[in-house]
């Protein structure tokens, strides 16, 4: 994405992208959250926006914390954004060495890669639906980079909790993440998210998959952490089977499923190193599965072995 065309499909005047600090806050409210192990303080909120955050993500809102990532919310005129007749999750990025800009449906944002992260969001309305959509879209990007800074990654995946541990299921769109999640629920297991899951290295070796606010169709908005016991790349088939994945195949699979940063030419190498390090700590296999959910014993036996 070139600088000139950033956000052309979303912004009425892409050439008027705001500078840092430009614009007025919606209000005086500040809220602190801990998301995927990353502490963030959100400022510039109106009372309505603050209430929306507390209502949407009560388990993630917490006490004020030291040295959080600083997210500022600014108001911009409604005429800033083109009116689209459908919901679009896709974002346009302009990746720079120390920062990035992004634009999407009803939002513009900047993220500074300082430590802790600093980010700014420009939106036009307090309407709960619009605010939720734009803010969560923005937050996904912030969390992806925050996870990367902590040696982890945000991964398009389904995370199913089995006992104290969790399995991570990855695969291209349509591979079966939501199907496996529903089958997991049907089998009495818990699903963290069938869409996006942060994975972070543990201090005592191993990997944690961390509950996030980012659900697809299924999941639980909870900050729970579970040790990751295996990564499975999904393939649908007529028989249930497992085959081991090599290191390169595992890395390729995870890299393809790590949104935003896998396209970032300044930071993709860091992401790749994180994923390689983590991929070496848990078994990774290709799971070919039938859609009737008969594969769980196969995973249980593998976990015991």
């Amino acid at each position: 994405m070139s600088t000139e065309s950033l956000g052309a499909r979303y912004l009425a005047h892409p050439d008027r992208f705001p500078e840092w600090g430009e614009g007025a806050p919606f209000g005086p409210r500040e809220t602190s959250m801990t998301i995927c192990g990353t502490r963030v303080r959100i400022s510039g909120l109106s009372h309505e926006q603050d209430r929306a955050i507390h209502a949407l993500w009560p388990d993630f809102v917490g006490e004020d914390v030291a040295e959080p990532a600083a997210l500022s919310v600014f108001r911009t005129p409604e005429s800033t954004f083109k009116k689209l007749d459908r919901w679009v999750y896709e974002l346009d990025f302009d990746y720079q060495p120390g920062s990035l800009r992004l634009a999407g449906l009803d939002l513009m944002a900047r993220v500074d890669m300082s430590s802790p992260l600093r980010a700014a969001l420009w939106i036009a309305t307090e309407s709960p639906d619009t605010f939720h959509g734009a803010f969560e879209n923005f937050l996904r990007v912030v969390v992806a980079y925050a996870a990367m800074h902590r040696g982890g990654a945000l991964v398009h995946s389904a995370a199913v909790v089995d006992g104290d541990d969790a399995w991570l299921f990855v695969g291209h769109s349509g591979a079966g993440k939501s199907t496996v999640s529903q089958l997991g629920l049907d089998s009495g297991r818990r699903v963290l998210s069938d869409d996006l899951n942060p994975i972070l290295p543990r201090e005592d070796n191993g990997i944690d998959v961390v509950g996030s606010p980012f659900l697809g169709d299924l999941g639980t908005r909870s900050p729970a952490r579970h040790r990751l016991s295996a990564i499975y790349r999904l393939e649908q088939g007529t028989e249930d089977s497992l085959r081991p994945m090599g290191a390169a195949e595992t890395l390729a699979c995870l890299m393809a499923c790590a949104p935003y940063i896998n396209r970032d030419r300044h930071r993709a190498d860091t992401l790749c190193s994180n994923l390689l390090e983590m991929a070496q700590q848990v078994p990774a296999k290709v799971l070919t599965f039938r859609r009737d959910g008969t594969f769980w014993p196969l995973l249980e036996r593998t976990a015991l072995a």
């Binding site: 090599g246 290191a247 390169a248 195949e249 890395l251 390729a252 699979c253 890299m255 393809a256 949104p259 896998n262 396209r263 970032d264 030419r265 993709a268 190498d269 790749c272 390689l276």
Partner: protein, 100 residues
């Protein structure tokens, strides 16, 4: 199949990482990722905009226990595939496009 005198280079949006004997290739503009075996990884490593395909093959012939004509054939096929996949570009073709 590409001529042995051609010179290729990796495209600007390509990132690759060697993992043991293998490698992964990331096409950032499309967010596509491929895993390569050891031979593919070595070819991609050697393609650096200043070696002809013949030179790449000559370097590899000292590293792999395979008949030279078989190696040349495999490398040419592989380079044709990664050229078609947008991973490498023929430098001379690029130059002539710029002139046009």
């Amino acid at each position: 199949m590409p001529d042995l005198n051609l010179v290729f280079r990796r495209k600007d949006d390509i990132r690759y990482r060697v993992v043991g004997d293998e490698a992964i290739v990331v096409r950032q503009n499309a967010a596509e990722v491929l895993a390569l075996n050891d031979v593919g990884a070595r070819v991609l490593e050697l393609i650096d905009a200043d070696k002809t395909l013949a030179q790449v093959i000559a370097t590899m012939s000292g590293e792999y226990d395979v008949r030279p004509d078989e190696l040349a054939n495999d490398v040419q096929r592989f380079v044709a595939a990664i050229r078609d996949a947008g991973i490498v570009v023929d430098v001379s073709e690029e130059v002539s496009e710029k002139v046009r």
